[in-house]
Amino acid sequence: MKNSEILTCFQCGTCTGSCPSGRYTSLNVRRIIKDSIKKDISDQPDLWMCTTCYNCQERCPRGIKVTDAILSLRAEAVKKGRILPAHRAVCKFLIEMGHAVPIDDIHISIREKIGLSEPETVRKYPKALKDVKTLLSSTGFNELIKE
């Protein structure tokens, strides 16, 4: 990854020691940063174990934007088609319904029971949903997540 900031990393491991996911998983932020300088790591599943909690970025003594770097590495992986099936499904919800977590019949009826009508979101307004679809197509997102 072309990121001169990352070259200032002196491998102290504060990022790894602060990582709530790394406590349980193979995610080793220090190693990701080190490896990203010299090789393509877009096929590493660990990249997707980060909850983006920003502990590493907050605590980095070099002030490296570590979490932002992980986001950039993920974007590189996505460009190469490395998308987890569950994430692809969420993307499809966004494209079809304008929401990552769309409403369902159960929750429409729960809303009615507590005196709430249909949410005033994009789902209720067809023209607005069309605008969202136009945007997602314009930025190339539809193509990006195609199988």
Partner: protein, 302 residues
């Protein structure tokens, strides 16, 4: 200050509408001028969409921001994820003219333009800064004698240089808001640690996300609490739904999960049902009878 448009996001209206109802009730009780942000989409969720493609994330977020600009209102979020996406996108597009031009070229296709004229607020920092704990304390009708584990959630606080709400290691403002309701914020180990849901981890790696949730729940339980109070529906979902998923593996916690809007609603005298507590998956009868006892007391002289 501008009037506020309530930005609902996805999880609150579509999974935990009780939080939406509680928010409406407390905003009205506080006499805040607000209206719905109609036609809004997903913020879009920072975990997946920001990771996938920055321009798509900015374009969709900017459309939501422009809906607020067209009404000349600030956006009020009740979710840390929405706050994070919308605030970060707003800041980036206000500062970076190259990115703004690129995003506006996409927005032009739907006859919109980002101008950078509004701010993005989160209900917690809004109540703390613009209403204040003293005013809340005066409005409380039913002081809630509860022991509470406060969970800030990562994106309310971090990145600290963008949030400008102080440090992330030992924040206090949310605890002060909780204590304004009469509850006691109980210290516990790992308080500022992540619930485990974010970054697309819950959706793609449920077991991994639950390990982080269990870490938190164990420490909250040890502190001896009546409930968890958070300010983000995704943390809410992770703690509430996560306890059901953990129970399948024999790990029983049964800790009620309460969004701050709901807690404030209870302190204002609304019933648990009015603030949608019964819509949680985790029901704790002991907690419910404790709330009923508090509510029965009538207006309590503090």
């Amino acid at each position: 200050m501008k009037e506020l448009s309530l930005f609902l996001g996805c999880v609150i209206p579509n999974r935990y509408p009780g939080i939406e109802k509680a928010t409406r009730l407390v905003l009205d009780r506080l006499g805040i001028k607000w209206s719905e942000l109609k036609e809004a989409s997903c913020c879009p969720a920072p975990g997946i969409f920001r990771s996938f493609d920055k321009i798509t994330w900015l374009a969709l977020a900017s459309r939501n921001l422009v809906l607020g600009e067209e009404k000349n209102t600030d956006l009020l979020t009740i979710c840390n994820g929405c706050f994070s996406s919308l605030m970060d996108a707003n800041n980036i597009l206000k500062k970076d003219i190259v990115l703004r031009n690129e995003v506006n070229a996409h927005l032009k296709k739907i006859h919109k333009e980002f101008r950078g004229t509004i701010e993005v607020r989160h209900i917690i920092e809004f109540l703390y800064k613009d209403i204040g704990t003293e005013m809340l304390d005066r409005l409380v009708e039913k002081p809630l004698e509860l022991k509470v584990a406060v969970h800030y959630g990562c994106h309310l606080l971090k990145p600290t240089k963008d949030r400008k709400l102080g440090g992330a290691e030992c924040p206090l403002f949310f605890d002060e808001l909780v204590e304004a309701t009469g509850a006691e914020s109980v210290p516990y180990e790992g308080k500022t640690s992540c619930c485990g849901a974010g970054g697309g981890v819950r959706s793609a790696m449920l077991e991994t996300s639950l390990m982080m949730t269990e870490y938190k729940l164990l420490r909250m339980k040890k502190a001896g609490i009546d409930c968890i109070v958070e300010a983000c529906p995704f943390c809410h979902l992770q703690y509430d739904g996560g306890q059901v998923e953990l129970a399948k593996a024999g790990k029983i916690f049964n800790i009620p999960v309460v969004h701050y809007s709901q807690l404030l609603g209870l302190a204002f005298g609304y019933t648990p049902e009015e603030v949608g507590l019964h819509l949680n998956v985790i029901r704790n009868l002991e907690f419910e009878s404790k709330i009923a006892q508090i509510q029965k007391k009538g207006i309590t002289i503090k």
